[in-house]
């Protein structure tokens, strides 16, 4: 008992962020519904940094536009760049979850008879203020912020929570001596004590370019930088998330930035990496590819980059494809390398992979590029020589890595677009503006002879890229005039005048330069004050008159109203495009499924039509639509209600669909047999259709059949099976037996056709159509399939509950790991890849197409999951660990159990719908830990594995993981950008409509978050509020009266105090000790009941909760063998149980319902078994339908009397037994063919 209140946390501010994170670079209006979007970064020739979102259509200027940049290199979460001062900057996106780093130090004290515990320590002791080991001196005030980009969140405070146990006030832990095991209890022999002080610092420079400051010795500092490339995030997995940052200095040296990771976005220091020559350019891929270009024209490839060695080990030289033209630029991805040689030709390197990063040979590609860059998914971007536009390589797929052709991005800039607006407004404003225009232009002309820089008024931006070409200037002026004429403008200003004016500016500048024409290019360099700094090589501009004339046009487009041609026909800006100097696609994910709007000119209309407004009543709130629906139902009533007894003019005939499938025989020996299947559908007199499924088979030469009435079918569910595309069909009876009808089809398509047809007939016969109601019960199978059931009011009506094996489940498209809902229709889901989804209110999706699926609110949904195989080895005295095991050993490559052989080659994705998205890589995140190469050791197979080798370990294994992805569709919309682990929605609010709905979540890094402004019209909310914690959390649940309970990673529970609509994040955490010796892993709070689940499968109920004492007092054991628990708004308790016995077989992952839950008996009395096995998750938090209260009082008293009656010993015992265990029967052989995960 007891709890500790961390009062010091009161001072912790909860930082709020606005919806910046969601609005990144998106031109879509409503912030809450930003589609997941990634960004293409580019720098134009003037050094301005732009981003283009995959869901947008215009380039947007980077938010922090103070600096001019030369190079940028982007990844999804940040971008590094080199500015024109040759310094390195990093741009980290803001998000709702802050970047915080915990600094800690220990205060050590020794006991002496005089002063008790005090700071006087023995000379041999550690420092009074030290790190955890005691070796480093760490005084409180010695901690400084590592750079100006950090700020302290709060002052130092004492950590009062050690290892899940609350400590006394003051946070001291005691031990006999330093070092030893510290405990919170002061014992008689505790001579020393220590306590931990914590302080958080927060990275504050988000959404801005933060200069990387090197605090080291200036002589060691790298010289100014020339090139930068970042990557390498795939080598080290999340959550550590280390990023490799490589840079090249002006002197040709290569530097690596150490320690760049999520909580240290700037890294720590530069370390020099030796190279065989002077390097001019470098490129780093997401994985382990690193190429650089030498000044002499060859490329060098870094070998040996891996997790432990992000620097790599050595360089290998690769010759340029042509001997005359060296390589000028190189770009690498995961499996590809592209290069541009000095003659601007583009080359593709064949044969590049992880084992051979050098590749084998060069292939020439069509196109002349200044530079290329490889983005995510090995997509390629380039900047062309002649028009300096950005091109995208079309057709790059995993089988066709070099793509097919270059396609230009024609998206304009946001600023151009607004000028388009201004042009039309000018037109409509008519003469008023045109007069002004004339005046301004005239005034410029009048000041013709004025040589001073006043002529270069800000109205005429001195784009001196063109200026020095006075040699070409005249011709380009003519070009300008011509081109302007081409555009069909009628200048209010005489074209010659404007050309003259241009010539004036050029001539005046050249006069200023005071030199001959050809040399003016050189002089431009010496007058940087007048120059607008450009990225491009001026000499190069000289060579290319086309560039200049269009640059002129661009000048005039960028220029003010002064030169604005009135009366222009076409919308301005469509001919112009920005000129680019650099592009980085490292943060840009181009999906083949989502089309980009970058390649065609979009009209204004289509972009406005793009508004993605999500509402639970799907975007169909138009009055006319409502009226049509209403009138149609009135009409039906009017014309049909009183006339149902009339005969139908057209008779409904019986309609049959037949086919051949395979059926899993229900008697021994079990095997698949070919059967003929017929689905007969007939219409009853009241118009309702009923269907029967017949299965015809041969048994001992006799033709027999079994049949199922589809209105009795409770669920149709796909079953994962290696060789067959099979599904299971359950009725209430078969659910009890745990023995469904199993059918298999020859192809996946056929199986889906049957499933779609059968489920449509089932829904029809139960008259279920349209989307699930707000009270629906949602569940997810181990396979990730989503099922929803409409609860009848009697489902929770004690004492005569409807057995839960009669619940009808229908499938909703999508693939998720868990779903949470509430009774107002807010439903959220989390995928296996931790992506967060919100329900759009639709139905169908997946393989349910056509009319059984709603049209508007089904979107693409994808999920990524991991497939694991194990590499097993046994030790023998001769060769050490080898893959040759004993004859009785498991396969060298196997699954987790060791019983099935799974090699890298023969392991396929779970089903044809899944496809691999990564290669096999070693998994270092196995429980038990691993050594540096990923091995876990044990005495024998199977046993408990640990990460270090001991003398007694004769076997070892290593886990390999490969990611596979499924792309499906369903009524889900992604809620970027935070990835989540757990989520909970307040079951039902007593509050009124205006209050937003409380939604709490845990991010996949363990941060506790609250979603703000969730309403029925906007179920996705707008932004996250971070609630500070001292350790990562793993589960959270919010109850109907805003009770928020959460479980931390160390297995202890916390209660969040004072959560209310006005204070959505509450004020502080109260630590609740977990049940004796158990570590909790999940909690669920209903109306008043709090249930928790520990890692050993025990279900606990929190006893002693009262309104004044919401934390309760103790844990009561309810049952074992539970995998998941969900408590609903009526305090109903539903679980997923592990081993449940049916009459035919054992199943794991079964939905069970706690019977007998009443206000006086909140733990209930016994279990009712529902659908399963193979279920992973269930949520009943939407079901707030209260049943009519019929004679409830009497029966509850009856029950009470019964259970309290001491004489009726048998009854009492029975009650206990049913209370205790869900299911039992150990030792019974698991039927391997049972439906299971």
């Amino acid at each position: 008992m007891g709890f500790g209140c961390l009062t010091t946390m009161d001072s912790l501010k909860t930082f709020e962020f606005d919806a910046l994170g969601d609005n990144r670079g998106c031109s879509v209006q409503s912030p809450a519904m930003a589609m997941p979007s990634s960004l293409l970064w580019a720098v134009d020739i003037f050094g301005r940094v732009y981003t283009l979102a995959t869901t947008g259509q215009y380039w947007e200027l980077c938010k922090d536009g103070q600096l001019e940049f030369k190079r940028v290199s982007a990844v999804k979460q940040c971008c590094w760049g080199i500015a024109c001062d040759h310094q390195v900057y990093t741009y980290v996106f803001s998000s709702d979850v802050p970047i915080r780093y915990q600094e800690e130090t220990y205060e050590n004290q020794r006991w002496n008879p005089v002063g008790g515990f005090c700071e006087k320590l023995m000379p041999s002791d550690r420092w009074q203020w030290s790190d955890v080991s005691g070796l480093k001196h760490q005084q409180l005030d010695s901690f400084t912020l590592p750079s100006p980009h950090w700020e302290w969140e709060s002052d130092w405070y004492v950590d009062e929570n050690i290892g899940g146990e609350p400590t006394e006030k003051g946070g001291w832990t005691y031990a006999i001596d330093f070092p030893a095991t510290y405990t919170k209890d002061k014992k008689w022999n505790s001579c020393v004590r220590r306590r931990r002080w914590i302080r958080y610092r927060r990275y504050k420079s988000r959404d801005t370019w933060a200069k990387i400051i090197s605090l080291e010795d200036p002589s060691q500092l790298p010289d100014p930088f020339n090139d930068i490339s970042i990557g390498g995030w795939e080598i080290t997995d999340e959550p550590a998330g280390r990023l490799s940052v490589w840079a090249v200095s002006l002197q040709g040296r290569v530097w690596y930035r150490e320690d760049v990771c999520h909580h240290n976005p700037e890294g720590s220091l530069w370390s020099l990496v030796a190279t065989p020559g002077e390097v001019v350019q470098i490129s780093c891929g997401p994985y382990d590819l690193l190429w650089a270009t030498l000044w002499e024209g060859q490329a060098i490839v870094r070998e040996g980059i891996d997790r432990n060695n992000p620097h790599g080990i050595s360089w290998t030289v690769v010759e340029s494809p042509g001997s005359e033209n060296g390589i000028m630029h190189v770009a690498v991805g995961v499996n590809v390398v592209w290069a541009v040689t000095k003659d601007r030709k583009v080359w593709f390197r064949r044969g590049v992979n992880s084992h051979n990063p050098c590749g084998t040979s060069w292939i020439e590609m069509v196109g002349e590029m200044m530079m290329v860059n490889v983005g995510l998914n090995d997509q390629v971007w380039g900047i062309a020589c002649d028009d300096r536009a950005i091109y995208f390589r079309q057709g790059v797929t995993s089988s066709e890595l070099s793509g097919k052709t270059w396609k230009a991005i024609v998206s304009g800039r946001e600023s151009d677009r607004s000028q388009t607006g201004s042009s039309t407004s000018l037109l409509s404003a008519g003469c008023f503006f045109s007069d002004e225009v004339r005046d301004q232009a005239n005034s410029i002309i009048q000041s013709d002879g004025d040589v001073s820089s006043d002529t270069e008024s800000p109205r005429v931006p001195p784009n001196h890229a063109d200026a020095p070409l006075s040699g070409a200037a005249v011709s380009s002026n003519e070009n300008n005039a011509d081109s302007q004429k081409e555009v069909g403008t009628h200048l209010a200003v005489d074209p010659l005048d404007s050309a003259q004016e241009e010539a004036n500016s050029t001539s005046s500048s050249s006069e200023k330069a005071g030199l001959e024409k050809p040399e003016s290019s050189v002089d431009q360099d010496t007058h940087p004050a007048e120059l607008q700094w450009t990225n491009i090589d001026l000499k190069e501009a000289h060579k290319n008159p086309v560039l200049t004339s269009s640059a002129f046009r661009e000048t005039s487009s960028v220029s003010s109203l002064g030169l604005f041609p009135v009366g222009i026909e076409e919308p301005y800006g469509t001919d112009e495009h920005p000129f680019w100097a650099w592009v980085s696609g490292g943060g840009c994910l181009v999906d083949l499924h989502s089309p980009l709007k970058w390649f065609t000119i979009q009209t204004g209309l289509s972009s406005s039509v793009q508004s993605l407004s999500l509402s639970i009543t799907p975007a169909q709130t138009a009055a006319w639509r409502k009226q049509i629906f209403q009138q149609l139902s009135e009409r039906t009533k009017r014309e049909l209600e009183n006339f149902r007894h009339y005969e139908q003019a057209v008779e409904q005939s019986v309609w049959v669909k037949t086919g051949t499938l395979q059926w899993w025989r229900s008697w021994k020996p079990h095997k698949w047999m070919d059967v003929r299947v017929a689905l007969e559908q007939f219409t009853g007199s009241d118009g309702v259709r009923d269907s029967i499924l017949f299965i015809y088979y041969m048994h001992h030469e006799e033709k027999k059949y079994i049949h199922v009435f589809l209105n009795e079918v409770t669920i149709l569910v796909e079953v994962l099976n290696d060789s067959k595309h099979s599904f299971a069909l359950y009725t209430p009876e078969r659910t009890k037996q745990r023995w469904p009808i199993r059918l298999a089809a020859a192809t996946e398509q056929e199986m889906h056709d049957w499933l779609a047809l059968l489920s449509m007939c089932c829904c029809e016969s139960r008259r279920i159509q349209g989307p699930p109601s707000h009270h629906a019960v949602w569940s997810v199978t181990c396979k990730g399939d989503i099922f929803v059931s409409e609860p009848s009011p009697e489902l929770e009506a004690a004492p005569h509950l409807i057995p839960c094996d009669q619940m009808f489940w229908r499938q909703i498209g999508g693939h998720l790991r868990l779903i949470e809902c509430n009774s107002q229709g807010i439903v959220w889901g989390i995928g296996y890849d931790h992506t967060t989804w919100v329900y759009t209110g639709g139905y169908g999706g997946g393989f349910i197409q056509g009319l059984a699926s709603s049209a508007d609110n089904i979107y693409m949904q994808s999920d990524v999951k991991c497939v694991y195989i194990y590499e097993n080895q046994r030790w023998n005295p001769v060769t050490g660990y080898s893959s040759r095991g004993l004859p009785t050993d498991r396969y060298m490559w196997s699954d987790a159990s060791g019983l099935q052989e799974c090699t890298k080659v023969n392991t396929k994705p779970p089903s044809p719908q899944w496809s691999w998205v990564s290669d096999w890589y070693i998994d270092f995140n196995v429980s038990g830990g691993t050594d540096r190469e990923g091995w876990q050791y044990a005495a024998d197979f199977p046993a408990s594995y640990h990460g270090h080798k001991t003398m007694k370990d004769f076997v070892r294994r290593r886990r390999w993981v490969r990611k596979c992805k499924i792309v499906t569709n369903g009524p889900w919309l992604e809620v970027p950008p935070i990835t989540l682990w757990d989520i909970s929605i307040i079951p039902s609010s007593a509050a009124d409509e205006e209050d937003s709905i409380a939604v709490w979540a845990i991010s996949d890094k363990g941060d506790v978050l609250c979603r703000l402004e969730v309403t029925q019209q906007n179920p996705a909310g707008t932004s996250w509020l971070h609630v500070g914690t001292d350790q990562p959390f793993i589960s959270v649940s919010v109850g109907a009266f805003y009770q928020v309970w959460a479980i931390a990673r160390d297995g202890s529970a916390f209660y969040r105090g004072s959560v209310s609509p006005k204070r959505p994040a509450g004020d502080c955490w109260y630590h609740i000790p977990s049940p004796q010796k158990q570590k909790l892993k999940q909690v669920s709070v209903g109306r008043t009941s709090v249930f928790a689940l520990d890692k050993n499968g025990n279900l606990w109920y929190r006893q002693g909760i009262t309104p004044s004492y919401p934390q309760g007092s103790s844990w009561d054991h309810v049952s074992n063998n539970i995998r998941k628990v969900s408590v609903g708004p009526l305090d109903q308790v539903w679980v997923i149980a592990d081993k449940v016995q049916g009459s035919h077989s054992l199943s794991c992952g079964t939905v069970c319902h706690r019977k007998g839950v009443q206000p006086l008996e909140p733990k209930g009395l016994s279990w009712d078994y529902g659908i399963g096995g193979g279920w992973e998750h269930i949520t009943v938090r939407g079901n707030a339908t209260e049943a009519p209260k019929v004679a409830l009082q009497d029966t509850s008293e009856e029950h009470l009397a019964k259970s309290l009656d001491p004489e009726d010993g048998e009854n009492g015992r029975k009650g206990d037994q049913s209370k205790a265990n869900v299911m039992v029967i150990e030792g019974q052989e698991l039927d391997r063919n049972a439906v299971s995960c």
Binding site: T603, W624, I628, R635, G770
Partner: protein, 275 residues
């Protein structure tokens, strides 16, 4: 919370309770009882009245029976108009059931077309579909379909099979996203009072600026008398499938969801009942 697809179902499964009475001057052997039937709004009289014919032919002699025709309050009912249209136009605000008189003699040659077999109805139905697609897609979609698809449309209508029909018909309701709608909307406006059988004109669903045209826009353009000015009392009803959609309803949406199976929007303009 209904989806657009539910509108399709409601339109398809609309039924009109009808009472068929034999014309008193027909020669019968026995008294003919009236016959009650639920008629599908979307079908055609001669397609769904086999039972009626059989019922009355039971009490008549073979030689007195020639081609069946129907009449309501003196007006012969054109079988080639969909039943829902006929009802809305002639009898929409009267008490149900709809009382139709059955004739077997004196076929009104001037007013009605002959309908000797189901093939005649099929030919008429397919001709309407083709004409509608010519307006919507320059006949591209209908011509791309195979003969069996055409047959499936007809079979779906004949056997009252919603899924079967819409499996093919949905293709006729598609359009290229760039266009935001069909080329022209296939519609016909009927007024009981005028001489002209119906009004049919070329009308685009999308304005050049991109806005969607509404039902009100259509009426203003082709039948301005149907629009009552703001302050005046409404004297007429604009009815489709027995309901009065708001004039703000986009015509493109109406064409996609409330067309009859022949892909035409049959709109009735009738006087508003004064009670």
């Amino acid at each position: 919370m209904t989806d657009d697809k539910d509108v399709l179902r409601d339109v398809w499964f609309g039924r009109i309770p009808t009472c068929f009475t034999l014309y008193q001057d027909e020669i019968t052997e026995r008294e003919a009882d009236p016959y009650y039937l639920l008629l599908p709004r979307i079908s055609y009289l001669t397609l769904v009245t086999d039972k009626v014919k059989k019922h009355f032919q039971k009490v008549m002699r073979q030689e007195d029976v020639s081609e069946i025709w129907f009449e309501y309050e003196g007006s012969p009912l054109k079988w080639h108009y969909p039943i829902g249209l006929l009802f809305d136009l002639h009898a929409s605000n009267t008490a149900l059931p709809w009382n139709i008189t059955v004739h077997f003699k004196n076929f009104p040659e001037k007013d009605l077309l002959h309908c000797h077999s189901k093939d005649v109805i099929e030919a008429h139905f397919m001709a309407c579909i083709k004409e509608a697609d010519a307006l919507k897609h320059k006949s591209q979609v209908i011509n791309e379909m195979q003969k069996k698809d055409h047959k499936q449309l007809w079979m779906g209508l004949q056997n009252d099979k919603f899924e079967q029909f819409w499996a093919i018909n949905r293709k006729l309701m598609e359009y290229i996203p760039e266009d935001s709608g069909f080329r022209y909307i296939p519609f016909r406006i009927y007024q009981a009072t005028t001489e002209r059988p119906f009004i049919q004109k070329l009308f685009r669903p999308v304005a050049p600026g991109g806005q969607l045209h509404t039902l009100g826009d259509l009426l203003k353009e082709v039948c301005p008398t149907a629009i009552t000015p703001e302050d005046c009392e409404k004297t007429i009803q604009v009815m489709i499938h027995g309901i009065e959609p708001m004039l703000e309803t986009p015509i493109q949406w109406l064409s996609e969801h409330m067309s009859y199976p022949d892909n035409f929007l049959h709109i009735s303009i009738i006087p508003r009942p004064t009670d």
